[in-house]
């Protein structure tokens, strides 16, 4: 009887209970990203196998992981993310050391290649209109061009290249004034009918194809 109780305790582990969460920010402003396309990795040391916990940022640029207390390293190894992740002297992706004993919220400051600023999106007479600025934020030699700017709308709150019901695109070469870009798209018929759409504009970075967006807006028409 004693043995049985003993093995019961031994076999059952506590579930992970410490939350690590935060946002990816540029000068304090969150960077909206493409859903499920920008991964980060967490390594916990002190165990037999070495392997990352891979997860993705949300489309608002937030992250959240439920973990065991311990020492972690946070890194981004993907070279196609729309921001510059610091490199070590050897040219490898750098990492953040995180000592996790209780719930922790942290903002991670990075420099994106671009930011979409002052996006004004409105719906009128079956059309979504947008006005926004494209700001090149990474000005040194590692900066990149962008290939196009796109206005996406969707019937659910997930809005991106994969998730949209309509979009309109303008190539970088056709944009004359980065401080005043206008895009508008017709709202297609939605089944079942709804009187709102979600919309945001994104800028696709050339060569790596990833996106930075404006915050998502719900438009009722």
């Amino acid at each position: 009887m004693l043995t049985a109780l003993f093995s019961c305790e031994r076999d059952n582990y506590q579930p992970p209970s410490v939350t690590l969460s935060g946002r990816l920010v540029y000068k304090g402003v969150p960077i909206p990203l493409e859903y499920n396309q920008v991964p980060y990795q967490l390594y916990q040391y002190g165990f037999g196998k070495v392997g990352p916990i891979s997860q993705s940022f949300t489309q608002d640029g937030a992250f959240s992981s439920l973990l065991f207390a311990g020492d972690y390293k946070f890194t981004i190894i993907n070279a196609t993310v729309p921001f510059k992740w610091p490199q070590t002297v050897a040219g490898k992706p750098d990492s953040l050391t995180i000592n996790l004993s209780s719930d922790k919220t942290m903002d991670i400051e990075v420099t994106p290649y671009y930011m979409v600023r002052d996006a004004k999106i409105s719906a009128a007479s079956n059309k979504v209109n947008s006005t926004f600025k494209i700001e090149k934020t990474l000005l040194d030699a590692s900066g990149k061009n962008f290939s196009r700017a796109v206005l996406f709308i969707n019937k659910t709150q997930f809005v991106s290249t994969n998730d949209n019901i309509a979009s309109v695109s303008i190539n970088a070469s056709e944009i004359t004034d980065l401080n005043n870009v206008n895009l508008s798209v017709n709202i297609p018929s939605i089944v079942p009918t709804q009187n709102y759409v979600f919309a945001r504009v994104g800028v696709q970075i050339a060569g790596i194809n990833s996106w930075v967006f404006s915050p998502i807006q719900k438009l009722t028409f």
Partner: protein, 634 residues
């Protein structure tokens, strides 16, 4: 006294005899296990060991991996009930990965034991060894296509049980070292193998050279087009090939292909055995006889053994299918994206003419008429509405279209419906589809014809089909030669090769040197080699995969424009649905009209990420061998 001595002596003899038999008592050769020496003593015995190794080859599409390995990439729609390939928005990083070092080990052991064999003739030993080395090089090629550079293990690794196996950890080779190895092996073994057309399920000189040409072409294009995707590389060259190596590899590819074309590997030739060009093209994949001089190396099947496959059972047209009542038919539905890529006979591209310039429908007397005047490979690869399979006319139509554009149809083809202003119920849907969600019937308007076996019984589960899966064939060798020559600036040679393939398909107006473009090369491979396991790897090596599968949804107008462009988006499979036109007041009553349709179960759009170019290496493998570098962008 003498008697006692004999007695004593005899005891002595028995005693010693007993002693010696004691020590050998347990040393009996087993009757159920062959020693290495015994196993490699008889050629037939060795061949049976080799047969196991042949049977373990890995292909991206194959009959062993079921019909579903032929679907995906926007080239077809799965009418099966599991629509994940058209509902997912892309692929996991682990997709297409392969890491079978157990197979590599068995090949290495075979090569070692074969070389140690004493009872085999020199000729047999050399051929067996060359066959195993071919299989090893071919599997390393398969791994390289999917994973980039991998540890190149050429000896069976032995653990010495000292408690620390870390000395067995090997790092990844550079990607070009993999291709160099494949090319070097091919050159080393090609003359140990017969230049013989007849035994195509075993390695031959032709198979080795075809592998060499294809591998060198892959290496060359990764070197050249890798410049377009600078993020897809690793600093140690485990992934990515330096651009300055491109020309060298193109030259090797051309040389190896030319060696086959010149006839020195046996008299391979394009299959031209039937007067009807479409039937000829379809038959190329069915005909396993010696007179099919096109197939170089294939995976063979044999009826009435366990080595048969159900490709025909899974994909035959519903109305004539032998297992339709049991839910087996019509699964692979080719897409309009592919269909419209088959050129017109004057070498121009055009969408299927279902509308005139004003958007008004064009009326046809027969549904097959809309496909007239096209590349014969269209009807050879795809079963079109209005054509027949096994002599039985297909019944593909989506319903009646009325004069006001309204459609009369019914999900159940056997339930008749009366047309407006009539009282007589009539059939309003083809027995072969298309209707969204009707599984085992086409949902695009097309069925696959390539590999479909018209032999009676081939579509029944009890018999199944013995059609071979061709891994290397002469037309691909010609296209490899054409591509390599084109990239080297030898356009006159290139058109000579590509025109042979095109002429066989009925495109008798030859392309001129000046007509040849990269788009033409890409296009020709897409239509000639459709559903043969090339499309994904071709798009990867040209670094076009992230362009054609960019995750964007497609529109109808986008679908019908820019046909034949290598960079054209191909994220969703479209269909072309035939309707009977019903309007008793119109002269067009009873004629056929067509609609371009995105089947409504297609909800995803393929998004090929940079991290998909090289399949992920499993974390457990990396944890066991920290020398392995991770793939980029995952």
């Amino acid at each position: 006294m003498k008697k006692y001595i004999y007695v004593f002596l005899s005891f002595l003899v028995i005693g010693t005899g007993g002693c010696s038999s004691d020590s050998e008592f347990l040393d009996i050769s087993p009757t159920s296990i062959l020693s290495n020496e015994q196993a490699f003593s008889d050629p037939a015995q060795v061949l049976s060991i080799l047969a196991n190794l042949y049977n373990r080859q890995v292909d991206i599409t194959s009959f062993n991996n079921s019909w579903s390995s032929f679907v995906d990439f926007g080239e077809s729609f799965p009418s099966d009930g599991n629509y994940s390939t058209v509902q997912n928005n892309g692929w996991g990083y682990g997709s297409w990965g392969t890491w079978d070092y157990g197979y590599i080990r068995d090949l290495n052991l075979f090569i070692k034991r074969d070389s140690a064999a004493t009872a085999l003739s020199v000729v047999d030993k050399a051929r067996f060894s060359a066959e195993a080395r071919f299989l090893r090089a071919n599997y390393y090629f398969e791994m390289t296509k999917r994973m980039g550079g991998v540890p190149l293990i050429l000896e069976p690794l032995l653990y010495d049980f000292n408690g620390d196996p870390s000395y067995l950890r090997k790092p990844r080779a550079k990607e070009y070292e993999m291709y160099d190895f494949i090319i070097k092996e091919a050159e080393a073994i090609k003359n140990d193998l017969p230049a013989n057309l007849n035994d195509r399920s075993r390695a031959s000189k032709g198979a080795v050279l075809a592998m060499e040409a294809r591998a060198a072409l892959y290496a060359a294009s990764i070197a050249k087009y890798g410049a377009n995707t600078p993020v897809v590389k690793l600093s140690g060259d485990e992934v990515g090939i330096p651009a300055n190596k491109a020309d060298g590899y193109y030259q090797i590819a051309l040389r190896a292909a030319k060696e086959i074309i010149s006839g020195s590997a046996g008299g391979y030739a394009l299959y031209q055995n039937k007067p009807d060009l479409a039937e000829n093209f379809a038959n190329l994949f069915l005909d396993k006889e010696v007179n099919n001089k096109e197939s170089i190396f294939f995976e063979d099947y044999k009826l009435k053994t366990s080595k048969v496959h159900n490709f025909t059972t899974s994909n035959q047209p519903f109305s004539s299918g032998e297992e339709s009542a049991n839910g087996d038919a019509g699964r692979i539905n080719p897409s309009l994206n592919l269909v419209e890529n088959f050129e017109k006979l004057d070498n121009t591209f055009a969408p299927m003419a279902h509308q005139d310039a004003n958007g008004q429908p064009i009326y046809y007397n027969n549904p097959i008429d809309i496909f007239a005047g096209r590349d014969a490979r269209l009807a050879g690869t795809i079963i079109l509405p209005g054509s027949a399979f096994k002599g039985q006319q297909l019944d593909i139509w989506a319903g009646y279209k009325l004069g006001n554009g309204q459609v009369v149809t019914n999900q159940d083809a056997s339930r008749f419906v009366a047309l407006p202003n009539t009282s007589n119920p009539v059939q309003v849907l083809g027995k072969d589809g298309p209707y969204n969600g009707n599984v085992n019937r086409t949902q695009t308007g097309f069925y696959i014809r390539k590999y479909l076996d018209p032999t009676p019984g081939a579509g029944s589960r009890g018999t199944n089909s013995a059609v071979a899966f061709i891994r290397y064939r002469y037309a691909e060798v010609l296209l490899n030669a054409a591509e390599a020559a084109f990239e080297l600036g030898l356009n006159a040679d290139a058109v000579n090769y590509i025109n042979q393939v095109r002429a066989r398909a009925g495109l008798t107006i030859p392309l001129k040197s000046s007509d040849l473009t990269f788009d033409r090369i890409v296009h020709e491979r897409r239509v000639e080699l459709a559903y043969e396991g090339h499309f994904l790897f071709d798009m990867k090596r040209w670094r076009l995969a992230h362009v054609v599968w960019d995750g964007g949804k497609m529109t109808t107008s986008e679908l019908v424009s820019n046909i034949g462009k290598a960079t054209k988006r191909n994220t969703q499979p479209f269909g072309l649905w035939p309707y009977k036109f019903y309007d008793p007041t119109s002269p067009n009553n009873g004629k056929w009209v067509f609609d371009v349709v995105l089947p409504n179960l297609v909800t995803g759009a393929n998004n090929f990420q940079f991290g998909n170019y090289y399949s992920a290496i499993d974390n457990n493998i990396i944890a066991a061998n920290p020398k392995l570098v991770r793939q980029p962008n995952q």
